[in-house]
């Protein structure tokens, strides 16, 4: 589903990603952990070209993102993204948030978009909030709407950029629950997270990033019980 080869990314003179190589298979759930500033979010944002790639190759669903002939808008319709700050559209109701992209990009009818939207809100447990505005919702509810909004495009792959980091602790669970459900249904997911419990329980594979490279890549059992690298060990000692 995703192949990343020697990905480098610099902001001016500051090289944030220093040669990333990895593969994500279909239906796989990959969690990316690591200290802040290690390049996790930048890496994730390169996967749908929210950050342009300095060098290297990122191949998503068979399309090389660096090719000029690749239609990035088309790729993005297949790659859902959930942000740390939710980024719901504040001037639109919950259901309108979910309906917008399928209507305008997939060009489906209002009727169909509404049915799809209502089903997704039902799925994330927010059917009764359809006609409210994002500002009237709690952070956890907003993030679940954001997940529904991304799913409305029926993506093949979902990217999560620290989806619970901006939430009050008591609201984290409801969002993780929705993500677990999604994983169980076989969605391909790449999740940048600080929720080690989630990574351990849900991930098929965990990537530990530090200083712009993937230091270690392994199953959650190995990473969390018997990591190979000293760095991983140190990091986990601090956060667990």
């Amino acid at each position: 589903m995703i192949t990343v080869q020697d990905l480098h990314k610099s902001f001016g003179d500051n090289e944030v990603l220093k040669g990333i190589n990895c593969e994500v298979e279909e239906k796989e759930v990959v969690c990316v952990i690591g200290p802040s500033g290690s390049g996790k979010s930048t890496f994730l944002r390169c996967l749908n070209l929210l950050e342009d790639i300095t060098s290297g190759d990122v191949i998503v669903d068979g399309y090389n993102l660096k090719d000029r002939t690749t239609d990035i808008n088309m790729i993005r319709t297949e790659v859902g993204m959930v942000f740390q700050q939710f980024n719901l559209f504040p001037h639109k109701t919950v259901i309108e948030n979910v309906m917008l992209a399928p209507r305008k990009v997939r060009k489906i009818s209002v009727q169909e978009a509404r049915e799809r939207g209502e089903a997704l809100l039902e799925k994330v447990g927010l059917a009764e909030k359809a006609d409210q505005y994002p500002a009237q919702l709690s952070g956890g509810q907003q993030q679940r709407v954001a997940i529904a909004r991304a799913l409305a495009m029926e993506p093949k792959l979902m990217l999560f950029d620290e989806p619970t980091s901006a939430l009050d602790p008591e609201l984290v669970g409801e969002v993780l629950e929705v993500m677990k459900q999604l994983a169980k249904e076989g969605m391909t997911m790449v999740v940048v997270t600080h929720e080690m419990g989630f990574a351990r329980e849900v991930a098929d594979r965990v990537l530990f990033m530090d200083e712009g490279i993937i230091m270690e890549e392994n199953t959650p059992e190995v990473i969390f019980t018997n990591p190979n690298s000293e760095r991983t060990k140190n990091f986990l000692n601090k956060v667990l």
Binding site: N48, L50, N73, M74, R76, T77, V79, G80, M81, F83, Q85, N87, L88, F89, P90, H91, K92, L100, A101, K104, V105, Y133, A135, A146, R149, A150, M153
Partner: protein
Amino acid sequence: MFNFSRVIEFLPQLGTGLYYTLLISVVGLLIGFILGAIFGLGRISKNKFYSIISSVYVEVIRGTPVLVQAMWIFFALPIITKYNMDSITAGIVVIAINSGAYIAEIVRGAVDSIDKGQMEAGRSLGLNKHQTMRYIIWPQAFKRMIPPLGNQFIISIKDTSLLSVILVPELMFQGRYIASNHFIALEIYTTVAIFYLVINFSLSLLLRYTERRLKY
């Protein structure tokens, strides 16, 4: 001292003046808004040419007085173009290009103030840049534009009174003509002032109402 009965006989003339003031304001500001949107987006465009042209326009217009702009367009420009504009057209042009520059800054400020996460969220859903601007950024920016736009509309409406110097038969022009020919300066200028006040206060109310309607 006040003798408003004398004003009544000149009401038709003041009415004509009011008509031109409103005509020039409405048409001028409509075009001004379009210019403002074009050059405001130009100021934040990544296209160098577009952004430089937009900056030059804004700086030149903001840096010169309306009165000078009016005189220049009506008296100086025809020397270059060999084409004489009638004063009403010239008046509309002056209001349009003048308000356009200020509105450009209002548009730029409002669009800039929208969190960049909104653009990212739109683009990540597969909307292209144009669609994201249209459905996500612009509606939110527009709401933030209303108070400063209202301000600019009021300023421009008052600026139309300066167009009397290029012989636009607007409210101030009529007032001046009547006052100096019939020696009733106090009554006429008071009436003219009230006319402007009524126009601008109505506009204020309308804008307040619009802003409330756009609440989310």
